[in-house]
């Protein structure tokens, strides 16, 4: 399995974190995993919604010291 790649989108506002994630996902291969770091509260709900809508795989979402860590796998 390839190593999980970190996307640091801290301190950017909606839809910045989502766009950062999408730009990486678009260039990635199926099976690649990403961990998005975000401090934007709105994105915490929006990003899982986008992942579900386009059919990727949400791995986990947790908040550590004020930073959300969203892990996702490219599924298609």
């Amino acid at each position: 399995m390839s190593e999980i790649r970190i996307i640091d989108a801290r301190d950017t506002f909606c839809p910045g974190p989502l766009m950062e994630l999408i730009s990486y996902m678009k260039r990635a291969s199926v099976g690649d995993e990403f961990e998005l770091l975000s401090t934007d509260k709105g994105s915490i709900n929006d990003i899982p919604e986008w992942i579900k809508k386009v059919g990727h795989e949400m791995l986990s979402s947790e908040q550590v010291e004020g930073v959300w860590h969203i892990k996702v796998r490219k599924a298609k």
Binding site: I22, S23, K53
Partner: protein, 144 residues
């Protein structure tokens, strides 16, 4: 209402929609909201077309305005926070990540006496309102 369909792999997904965005105002807040709608919809698989006319066109012609004036408090907040992606950046995401079509109004292009080389490379061909309305018939239309 979004319609759900069952994909070949058994997942329920939202069918892609046609979304048209009519961008008229040149204020920062309206351009920002239009760019947010366009980028998120396009990146989520919707077929997005943005039509720029009136003051919204000024930011897509070389040598014209680059900084959109704030209409109120939110425009000022966004202008002063580096964490807010610019509307130009968001329209670029819409086009590059989601294949959104960004079309300049042919009337506005003519009135500005702009040549094709003067237009932002993000833009598609100058398009008439009749064509835009015809294409947008029955689809969702957002106006800013």
């Amino acid at each position: 209402m979004p319609r759900e369909w069952r994909g070949a792999d058994g997942d329920n997904r939202i069918m892609s929609r046609k979304i048209y965005v009519l961008c008229v105002s040149g204020t920062r807040e309206k351009l920002q909201m239009a760019a947010m709608v366009a980028s998120v919809a396009a990146a989520s698989g919707d077929e997005v077309t943005v039509f720029f006319s009136m003051n919204a066109m000024l930011y897509f012609v070389k040598g014209r305005d680059t900084e959109a004036p704030a209409e109120g408090e939110f425009g000022r907040l966004m202008a002063n926070d580096k964490g807010v992606p610019s509307f130009k950046q968001l329209f670029t995401y819409a086009a590059e990540l989601g294949d959104a079509k960004l079309l300049p109004c042919s009337m506005a292009v003519d009135l500005l006496k702009a040549e094709e080389a003067d237009l932002d490379p993000l833009l598609g061909p100058p398009t008439g309102l009749t064509r835009f309305l015809s294409d947008a018939e029955g689809a969702q239309l957002f106006t800013f």
